[in-house]
Each structure stands twice: as structure tokens, then as C-alpha cells.
Amino acid sequence: MVEPSVFYPVNDFGPAMKGLVIGGLGIFHVFLAQFAIGGGMLMAYYQWLAMRGKLPEARQVLDSYFRYLVLVSFVIGALTGVGMWFTSIQISPATIGKMVDTFHWVWATEWIFFWVEVVAGYAFYRYGKILSDRARLTLLLIYSVAGFGSLFWINGILSWQLTPGEWVETGNIWAGFFNATFWPSLFYRTAAAMVIAGLVAAVVVNTMSDVTREQRTALINATARFMLGVVAMPVLGIWFLLAMPADSREWVLGGSIAMTLFLNAAVGASVLIGGYAVVGLWRQKLYINGATATLLLALAFGATAGGEFVREGVRKPYTIRDVLFSNAVTPGQVAHLREVGCTTDDPFPLRDADRYANDQLRTGALVFRSQCAVCHTVSGVNGLTHLMGAWSVDQQRMNVAKLQLTKGFMPPFAGTPAELEALVQFVRWEAADHPTAWAESGDAATFAEIKEWLDEAGTEPAPIARRDRSSNGGAE
């Protein structure tokens, strides 16, 4: 039986692509959350250094710097986390719904870790000064483990979206959780978290007026040791690339120029930071001033940005591989929707129905809303009038009918021939600057031709994006 479609109201993000919206907030959230996680570990390390008498001034950094850390991780981390959740609902309720349905116990477990993080962080922030050294260290270790734990749990859910592995067949959530990209992405993110925290610490050390230059250098060199995981990042990145499905790998290695650029930006920034940390700070024991540390931090932010865009992008044409296409249609629904139509049961009317010259255009606007709007705008970022503008009308019909072959990172078209024609007319009308008069098109022969193209393309995604046991991360 075909799963019934659930219709949700679709919001218009204006000229911005939805991916940009979630990517934008995602970068911010991930950067801050990783900082909080790495920060917890670094604090525990400083406490240990201070207790062992190796670096007594580490305690000062801890007490001054931890305030920022706690504030940032409490507020921005937790709230942008909730914000990510709400944004995910805005972008694709079907995706987040499926994630929640599948992994609610994992999320509930993560929630326990949040509580421990909040209580441990607050206790240290508030009472750290009156606690014994041993208690401080234990508290910081609890805080770090809780922070790392929240990364561990969410990492399983996010990596499952790209490589759900055996789960697709068995429904076993642990097979989905410990999937092919789980470990490389966990280690990669952990190393990134430690580097970000180290760089923030370098900035903080530079703002401290009550330590000497030698003490600062000692602090920064100790921090550099903490950041050494950066050397593993290229290897982890390659491991991640090898573990991802073959088609996704192709997108980032040249198949999609935007994604290749983002990947290169991320790699380039990471190499610069890594080189500086290893050669400059650790080997040559150089001092890093506040301005340089801030610059490196900005580079780390750039690397996070590149990484997050790649992560959002490589899943295409799916949001959950093999299970849900980016436009919330499931592979099993495509054939059915080609029969009954994707707009027929949509209870939500157009907001601007009066604007259109005829009913066909209104249908076209509904088709755009349900099938395309999650990744495209009409004339803004990734706008259809630009992308399809140079094609003849027949090319437009055929390329949409064979959408998954036109570009492999798009899903198969899931609507009737009449809906497809309506979409084509809608795009043409928009490109023509929406004239008031526009004739309805589509004789029987046109529809028959569209149907033929649809049949030729079939209802499966592009051959390369089909489920392929050997390329789907090899989780078996």
C-alpha cells in the first residue's frame, strides 16, 4: 500500500533558498555547540594541568574563561538547538518527523545528557571557586562527558540521514545509528571541537592582564598540545568521503561545483589552522597574539560553514537516503502521484491566487510549491527562471519529466503530465514578467508526449543515486 501524503503548509523564504536558511543557522549552532564540547574537555585538561602543578596559571584561565563558555553553551547552544529543530520543521516537516519517529529514544537519551551538562556547567560556574580540586576535576569531567555524549547521540542521527545502511531493510535503529559514516564523522567533529575550543582559549589568554608573557606562552603551548587532533582531520575527512555513497562522493569531487568549492574551502581552512597549530605553536613554541588567534578562529568558522553546506548538500536527492526525497515524497509514492496528482488533495490554497492569469498557472504554482520549492526559488537563489530560461518549451517539458536524469541530485518528478505542463507554463509566465494575459496550453498530444518522457525516465531516482548495497556505505 502507498503511504498517504501528509500535506503541510509551505512557507516562502523570499529570495533565499531553504537550504541556505538551515545551513546558515546550522553553521552558527554547530560552531557554538562544538566550541562548548571542546571547551569542556579543555577545561578538564587545564584543571588537571593546574592540579599536577605543571601549569598553575591554567586555573586562572579556567575561572575567567569558563564564564563565557558556560554562558555560550547554555544559551546559544541550547537555544539554537531548539532553533535548529524549529527550522527543520519549517524546511521539511516530513524529514524531521521521520527522524523523531525513528530515533525518539536516542533523542530522549540525549536529553538526559543535556540535563547533566546544564547542571554540571552551572554548578561549576556558580560554585567552582569553593570546591576542592578533586571535585572540580570530577565536575569538569562530568561536564565534558555529557557534552561529548550529546555530540555522540546527535551524530548518529545526522549520519544516518546520509548512510542509513541496514536500517532501510531491517528497521533496526542501532544498525541505522552506528552507520558507515558514524565513526569518521564523530571523530572529525570531536577533533574540530577541540581545535575551536583551543583557538577560543588562545584569544582569551590574550585578554588576561594578570599573567606574564612567559605564562601566556606556556598556556598557549599547552593549548596547542590539546589541538593536536587537527593532524588527524585530513585522514578522518578521507575516511568520511570513502564511507559515503558513491554518488554523493561524486558531487563533492567535482560533480557539483558549488559543493566542490565548499569542500575545498573547508579543507583549505583546516590545513591552514592545522599547520599553524602544529608547526608554529607546538613544534616551534611560538606565541600567538589575539589578532592571529581571532583570524584563525574566523578560518575555523569558515571551515565549519563549508563542512555544514557539504553535509546538507551531499544527501541529495534525498533528505533520508533511500527513504525520503528532498521534497518530502517517498520513493514508493512517485508512481502513485503520477496517477493522482501532487496537488489534488492539497488542502492549502495559494496565498496569491489572484495574481495568476489563469487556472493552469495556479496549478503550476502549487506544483512548484510542493515539488520544487524546498531547493529552488522562482527567480532568486537557484531560481527556476534562470535555470530553465535558455531551454525551449519542449526541452523544459522533457527535462522536468526526466528530472532525475537532467541532474542526478534531483528526485523524479511526482505529478501528472497536466501538472508538469502547468509547472512549465508557470515558469515561462514568471520568466515573461507575469503578463496579465496568458493562454492555457496543453493539447492531448503534448500530454501524451510528456507521459512518454515520464515513462522513459521511470520512477526510480538517477541510476547512481539508487540503493546500491556496495556504495551505501557498505554497512552490511
Partner: protein, 364 residues
């Protein structure tokens, strides 16, 4: 057993129970934040008018609030995450649709909470001590932020249940769902918030975690008990019209009767507990135990009745098949194991801090 929620099909019942339990936790912190921000807002406003209270008991309460509100807000947010999860399992389509219809207005609660959080820290800062106008303004902005968030959740809840209004709400692009039911419902949450926050603040003062002198604390506790005695039965009464029990049809009313009786009994017990505190405000703990137990019963009754109405309004038939499909116990054991470890860690932290405060050294 045939009492709600135990009469429900197993998967639905299971998630309803989880929603109720986790919502109870959210309510505790949220009530503290809601009522606390109003107390600080009102105090701030009076300060702006130059009416600084001479009564040190009232000052003690505002001091405790200023000190603990940032944590309480973090806790309210963290506590909100679990019910957020279970609401999505139980009423996915309804919840998401309401979110989507309110769009930017709904999303605004995130930056608004960030602003509230930072302003709460500002309110605590020594820098603005003595600057009454500034303090008053900050406290009032915090109050407005918190009320906005409470309003938004209520609006979202009501919109999620008004399926007939969805298409038109979408067509007009209106991000505000103007329902006459919102204001009285907010009224209920505020009054019940005062009742709950009174108990929590009185606990804080009685445990001396606030650093307030015993004699002042006793007077502050008395004051809070008076608020509790009045607000608890008032909350119970307001709940009847505000949460939609009065306007519900006969069948629904009789379906929730036992829950309302439980809630009413809870309110009476809580009021009696507060009265006990009033009689012995220097040794208030026995009274506070009774008041807290009563409040817990009241909340469980009200929250369960709220779920009963929601399930009836959406229609159990349309929901239970989904619950059965997604209902999986896989992962439950992992959750339970980490819940125990998490609770143990939190208990260790609380004990360690407590011992350090009293100079007792580290726990073994």
C-alpha cells in the same frame, strides 16, 4: 483499568504518560520563570516610580529570583525538550502545521528567549545596581519576553487543534492566530504559575540556599504562603473555563470528571499545605511538603485532562494507527540506563556542592 490515560491503546497511552511526566517537569520550571519574571517586572516598575519596598522580605524574594532566574530559564528550556519530542510523536501533523502557519512569529521565540536570558544576567550584574530606571526597564523587557513565549505556546496549542481554520490562516498569511481563548488561557497559566512558584521559592528560602537571614526568610515564606493560599484554588477554578472544560460537551465533561476531581483535590490539599506554612513559617517544611504534593496532584489532573480534550478533539482513530507504527521500544533500555547514570551524576553534583557550602569536604 479503564481510567484515562490507561484506557488508551498501549502505544498511545505510553507516549501520553511520557508527555505528562516530562511536561510536569517543564511546568515546574516554566511556572517559576513565568511568575518570577512577573514579580521582577512589577518590582522593577515600582522601582522606576521610586517606590522601593521597605519590606526586606519582598526584597529577599526578588534577590533570590534575580539570582536563580537565569538557571531557571535554562532549566525550563531544557525541560521543554522532552515534551517537545513526545508532542511530535503524538500529534505530529497538528503540531507541525501550527508551527508552519505561524512561521516567523513562532520562530521568534528563539531570539526572544536569548534576549531574555542575557537580560536576566544583566539584571544580576553589579554594574546596574542602584540604577532603578535601568533595572526596571530590563526587568520589564524580560517579563514581556517571557509572556510573549507563553502566549506563543498557547496560540500554537489552540491553532494546532483548529483544523478548520488552517487553510484560511495559510491563505491570508496571517502569522497571528487571534482566538478569544488565548487570553483566559494565559490568565490560567499565570495564576497557576504564581501558585507553583510560591512553593518553589518558599523551598529555596527554607533550604537557606539563598543566603537570606532566617528571620527575613520566615517573613518572606509567609508572604509566599499567602500568595499560594489564594492562587492555588484560583488556578483550579480558572482552569475550568480557561482550558476549555466548561465549553466541552457533556461526554467530554464526564470523561474528564475524575481528572478534574483529582485536580480539585490537589488544589485543596495544596491550599491546606500553604495554610500550614502560614501557621508555622519558621518551620515551614511540613507545610511545603503537603503543598508540593497537592500541587503535583493538581498539575497531573489538569495536564491529563488537557490531553484527554486534545485526543478527543483530534480523534483518537486518526492518531492511534500512527502511534502504533512509530511506537518502538528499541532504545528504551539505553534511555533508562543513561537516565539512571544521569540522575546519579546530578545527585553527586548537588551533594558535592552542598557539602562544600557547609564546609563538609568532598563526598566519598
Amino acid at each position: 483499568m479503564t481510567v484515562f490515560p490507561f484506557e488508551l491503546p498501549l502505544p498511545t497511552m505510553w507516549y501520553v504518560v511520557l508527555l505528562l511526566v516530562t511536561m510536569l517537569l517543564h511546568v515546574a520550571f516554566m511556572a517559576y520563570v513565568l511568575a518570577g519574571s512577573m514579580m521582577l517586572g512589577i518590582a522593577g516598575f515600582r522601582g522606576m516610580l521610586g517606590r522601593v519596598p521597605r519590606d526586606s522580605a519582598w526584597q529577599a524574594v526578588t534577590r533570590v529570583l534575580k539570582d536563580w532566574m537565569p538557571f531557571a530559564l535554562s532549566a525550563a528550556i531544557t525541560a521543554g525538550i522532552a515534551p517537545l519530542l513526545f508532542v511530535q510523536i503524538l500529534y505530529q501533523q497538528e503540531f507541525y502545521t501550527a508551527n508552519l502557519l505561524s512561521f516567523h512569529r513562532w520562530m521568534a521565540i528563539v531570539p526572544v528567549l536569548i534576549v531574555a536570558f542575557y537580560l536576566l544576567y544583566l539584571l544580576k550584574a553589579h554594574r546596574i545596581e542602584g540604577r532603578l530606571a535601568l533595572q526596571g526597564a530590563v526587568a520589564m523587557v524580560v517579563m514581556a519576553c517571557v509572556l510573549f513565549v507563553g502566549w506563543s505556546w498557547i496560540e500554537n496549542h489552540l491553532l494546532s487543534l483548529d483544523r478548520d481554520a488552517w487553510p484560511e490562516q495559510y491563505r491570508t498569511g496571517a502569522m497571528v492566530y487571534a482566538s478569544p481563548a488565548i487570553a483566559p488561557r494565559l490568565g490560567f497559566w499565570i495564576v497557576s504559575g504564581f501558585a507553583t512558584a510560591s512553593a518553589l521559592l518558599a523551598w529555596q528560602l527554607s533550604l537557606a540556599a539563598s543566603g537570606v537571614a532566617a528571620e527575613v526568610a520566615a517573613r518572606a515564606i509567609r508572604m509566599l504562603a499567602i500568595v499560594g493560599v489564594v492562587a492555588t484554588p484560583a488556578a483550579g477554578l480558572i482552569a475550568l473555563p480557561a482550558l476549555g472544560f466548561w465549553s466541552a460537551d457533556e461526554g467530554l465533561r464526564s470523561g474528564t470528571a475524575h481528572l478534574m476531581v483529582a485536580a480539585g483535590a490537589g488544589a485543596v490539599v495544596a491550599a491546606a499545605g500553604f495554610a500550614l506554612v502560614l501557621r508555622r513559617s519558621s518551620a515551614p517544611r511540613a507545610g511545603l511538603v503537603v503543598a508540593s504534593a497537592g500541587l503535583t496532584l493538581m498539575w497531573l489532573g489538569l495536564l491529563a485532562a488537557r490531553e484527554f480534550l486534545r485526543l478527543e478533539s483530534i480523534g483518537l482513530e486518526s492518531l492511534s494507527a500512527r502511534h502504533e507504527r512509530v511506537g518502538t521500544l528499541s532504545g528504551l533500555i539505553v534511555f533508562l540506563v543513561f537516565a539512571v547514570i544521569g540522575l546519579a551524576s546530578i545527585a553527586w553534583i548537588v551533594r558535592t556542592v552542598h557539602r562544600a557550602q557547609h564546609g563538609l569536604g568532598d563526598p566519598k
